[in-house]
């Protein structure tokens, strides 16, 4: 594979790498006919990101040739090494004119060469490992709800939450408003935890097609990486989501770039709950439909709408303990279920046991019409290494 990125696109690539570095420790490079794909997955397999740069993004793009028996070459490198090349975005912008990425199958190194001002050339030779295709299974078409917003809106929303916050719950109120709330763990002490909730009006979004009263909880940290990329590129962000437990998919689309971020969501087994706030601890009921601009009426509404309280207001909280996600009611793919159980059983140090995030299904993906890879058919070899 050989590709050359020129001018301002070098910085875009750099930003993409920064974004991916928030996800996982390894960067997967996959040159395809439709462009170069950079991917990452986190250790607990609950976050997956893919940046696909179309051939037009490059000054020169040669994915390499795939013979009848061989596929286009894929590899993965240490994220730290790759990120190191693009670490300082301002200096990329200022001094780098061109970036060359060269990957020869029989070579022992991935070559990254930066052509800078004043005739300076910086060549980085990175060790790489061959690998299977990294692909999470997801389908935006199957998602019930979809939101599209300028990245700036979401960035402004997220600023209200502390940088260390792990999870956030996105909810849809009955009046069309969208809420974001910090997720409080079940075992956290309610009298010590601050709860922040933000409500956004429907017309702040570019498009809203959501099932009212739905909510999903996902990891904010991994999302922030994509958000800063989206903000810098000024692209609108689309959020596809479904029931709790089904992954949430964030997408960015451009003529030369396609980005997907797939995050697992917390599965919440009490899907029969009427109110959107099902953290089980603090109940901020959705504002009623006639929620006006006025702060007064909002506060009044908060006071009066008690509909969602879980029981007598007492100092001790009636805690809801969702059962482990093993007994999932609906399972579309059997494989998925098996994979789930495997993942759960294999959930060791990296995966905090009390988190009920469902891992995404990873497997080797067979493209129709092409012979499958000669090597193993099941889950990527790396998986078992990572989990043992």
């Amino acid at each position: 594979m050989k590709c050359v990125i020129a001018g301002g696109n070098v910085k875009v690539l750099g930003r993409a790498v920064h974004s991916l570095s928030r996800i996982g420790d390894e960067l997967y490079l996959e040159p395809t006919e439709s462009g170069l794909s950079l991917r990452a997955v986190n250790s607990s397999r609950s976050a997956f990101a893919a940046f696909l740069f179309a051939p037009l993004f490059f000054q020169l793009y040669e994915p390499g040739s795939a013979g009848p028996d061989t596929e286009l070459f894929r590899c993965k490198v240490h994220m730290k090494s790759f990120l190191g090349v693009f670490r300082s975005l301002p200096s990329l912008e200022k001094s780098v004119g061109k970036c060359l990425i060269l990957l020869k199958p029989r070579a022992s190194r991935l070559v990254l060469q930066l052509h800078c001002k004043h005739g300076v050339t910086k060549t980085h030779n990175l060790a790489f490992q061959e690998c299977e295709r990294l692909q999470a299974v997801f389908d935006t078409q199957r998602c019930v709800s979809r939101l599209c917003a300028p990245a700036r809106l979401l960035a402004e929303a997220v600023v209200h939450f502390p940088p260390t916050l792990a999870e956030v719950t996105l909810g849809t109120g009955t009046s069309g408003r969208i809420s974001l709330r910090n997720y409080v763990e079940d075992d956290a002490e309610p009298s010590k935890t601050m709860v922040t909730e933000l409500w956004l009006a429907e017309d702040e979004f570019q498009s809203v097609a959501v099932a009212p009263g739905s909510h999903i909880t996902f990891c904010l940290k991994e999302f922030r990486g994509l958000l800063s990329f989206a903000e810098a590129s000024n692209l609108p962000l689309t959020i596809h989501f479904d029931k709790p437990g089904r992954p949430v998919i964030f997408t960015l689309d451009d003529t030369v770039l396609e980005v997907h971020l797939v995050l697992a969501t917390l599965s919440d087994l009490d899907s029969s709950s009427q109110c959107p706030s099902t953290n089980g601890v603090s109940h901020l009921p959705a504002p009623p439909d006639d929620f006006g601009d006025d702060l007064e009426s909002y506060m009044a509404a908060m006071e009066t709408s008690e509909g969602c309280s879980e029981g007598p207001p007492s100092p001790t909280f009636p805690l809801r303990t969702p059962q482990p996600a093993k007994s999932k009611p609906q399972q579309q793919e059997e494989e998925e279920e098996e994979e789930e159980e495997e993942e759960e059983e294999g959930a060791v140090p990296g995966t905090p046991p009390h988190k009920k995030f469902r891992s995404l299904f990873f497997g080797s993906v067979m493209t129709p019409g092409r012979p499958g890879p000669a090597t193993t058919q099941e889950v990527l070899a790396e998986d078992s290494d990572g989990e043992s």
Partner: protein, 294 residues
Amino acid sequence: MSGQAQGRQCLCERLGPAFSDKEKRKGGIINTIVKLAKTCILRLTVCKLYFILSDKVANGGASMWCELSQGNFFDEFQMEGVAAEHNEIYLEFVPENLWRALKTAQSAKAVKIKLTNKHCPCLRVAVELPSLSSCSRIVTHDIPVGVIPRRMWNDFREPSMPDFDVSIYLPVLKTMKSVVERMKNLSNFIVIEANLSGEMNLKIETDLVSVTTHFKDLGNPPWASEDGCQSSGQGRDLESMAEACIDIKKLQQLLAGQQVNPTKALCNIVHKRIVHFILLHEEVSLQYFIPAIA
């Protein structure tokens, strides 16, 4: 905390549209307090708010008393205390939470703070933010608080002015802050000494090094002598220094929290006992007591 007073207590403070200036000031106070302690007491009376840190062991014996008039900060203020003759509310809260909540209110259209008790007592801070759409964005922060029962209110009385030996105006806080910050790298304790001729020294001493910074012409506040004994050192030698050795971190924390130069900043030193700092802004007065290390 006990539910004794909860039924009768309600608090509603509202800052109207023209409040952004006030908000910055309130944020400024919280900014100071955040640096000083992990938890703080808020005492509410009809006209004033007090932020109190009592000298628990956790604070290293330091204590703080900060008072402000609610009229300077709120457009609307309603409060109902425990009982008619005890029309006050005492709340324990984590300053960092309030600071975070107010931080995002810098550009707000309106902020409303209410004491609620849904599942546990909370200060609900609701912020109305401008947005491009027809409806504003609303952010609410539920800050858990502990309600302090009346029987414990005596623990939080205003500390009395100590019988000081020297009272002196502080140097420009920014300068003092940078000096103290550098000294902090070298030693855990700092000696503050001052006399009635407007001279102050900040000293640290370790096995390897000793550093002293001298300030001159600071001026001494003229305390009116009510009964003659608090007068500015009647009979006291003007050159003689009163000193106290205190935990440098406490001093650094106090100075770090000062964003704006106070209208008046001074300290009273009781020789080898305690240093009492008084910082006065237009609407806020802050007193901080740091005991001397034995």
